[in-house]
Symmetry: C2
Subunit: 206 residues, 2 copies
DNA sequence: AACTTTGTTGACACTTTTGTCAAAGATTTT
DNA sequence: AAAATCTTTGACAAAAGTGTCAACAAAGTT
């Protein structure tokens, strides 16, 4: 249904359309190792168009990945670079990251699997990011710790904890749905409470 | 070097040897979609032996996965089923899970990717686990919350948090090594502190 | 030691997947 | 509207991966 009507030309940009659908298939649906045929079917185009526009499957993947990375970093920067309070920044990170993870749960997974097993392109693919914003955030965190509002630990670990607490349960959700003895309703309510539970865990006196 | 000498018969059980090596390749090295040739090379045997002993690649994978799952559940049960204090149980879970994750970081990842995208075998592969132990643990957690020793939240979320805080950073470590502006030494020390930091985060007054 | 069973090997066939290319169809430019 | 350019398509070739099989080798049994 979402497939492009065949021969429906130029009302959409085919190239962009393919990338967009590939991002969905890879990072939302989770078919990280979809074949070119699967990608083409999903996008509703002929397989050869992938080669025409991107040269190879790998280059399409790189393109999709780069776009994901860019938009993810942008949304992080928006929070970290703001003038909000530390508490609001933490809440903002939780919020932003939750949204992102729910939309693209497999993006993180790709970072791990493919990146570690594909020996090449290690250096180029990742640029150090948000150095200044991060240093600044660490400092603010440290101040809150000194003030007793945040459990004392290395600010880096604190930062990592935010992402851990948000990301992991979302990634594992389909698995948890099966192993834990709960109805979908119960599970939903559990997951809905998480944002607040996390925030309360990360901030002592709120 | 670790490869079996060719023709070196019966000093080791070839079948077990292949499974053991496959577990390493899949869940420690991270080659979740290794070809039969890669598996065979890694184990130092001829590729056809995989078919001889296991019938198909899938069956070898299932076997490796089942063994992993079994040992993982066993180590969890050992902690949850013990008579230790809640604090010690939480510390034990952190410890056990850290060890497991460091040894087989890709086991969790498989649970997500393959399991969600491979439509078949959803039901059979996972059995509900540790129901009684878990219910009991929830109850103990709740008591500690009531006593004010643990931040108040749903015990399920608390339980999930333990695994989130341990697992996610280990999974992401290779990625973090590159994006964060730290030396290996700094990163190591950060990760070493984590166990205590996590425990302190999860228990208020310790 | 002959026989049977178990283990190992290389060759082959089959399937899946990727990428190329020439031809056909559309769109834009002149 | 003719020419040039861009887009789409099906057919083909090449590569990679999986499983089967018959033959050979080793170990165990009688």
């Amino acid at each position: 249904m979402s497939a492009r009507a065949a021969g429906n030309l130029k009302d959409v940009n085919t190239e962009e359309h393919i990338v967009a659908q590939a991002k969905q298939l890879f990072f939302a649906v989770g078919k990280l190792s979809a074949s070119t045929q699967e990608i083409a079917d999903f996008a509703g185009v002929k397989r050869t168009l992938i080669n025409y526009y991107f040269g190879s499957k790998q280059k399409l993947f790189d393109r999709a990945f780069d776009e994901m990375r860019y938009s993810f970093n942008a949304s992080l920067s928006e929070v970290l670079g703001s003038i909000a309070s530390v508490y609001d920044k933490v809440a903002g990170l939780i919020d932003t990251f939750t949204t992102f993870m729910e939309q693209y749960p497999y993006f993180n997974i790709f970072l791990i699997t493919e990146l570690n097993t594909t020996k090449k392109r290690k250096k180029e693919i990742i640029q150090r990011y948000q150095r200044q914003e991060l240093e600044n955030f660490y400092m603010e965190i440290q101040q809150e710790m000194d003030a007793g509002n945040i459990p004392k630990m290395d600010p880096f670990n604190y930062y990592v904890n935010i992402f851990s607490l948000v990301s992991y349960p979302i990634i594992m959700r389909p698995y948890y749905d099966r192993i834990f003895n709960m109805t979908k309703k119960e599970m939903d309510s559990m997951y809905q409470k998480r944002k607040q539970d996390i925030l309360r865990l990360l901030f002592i006196n709120q």
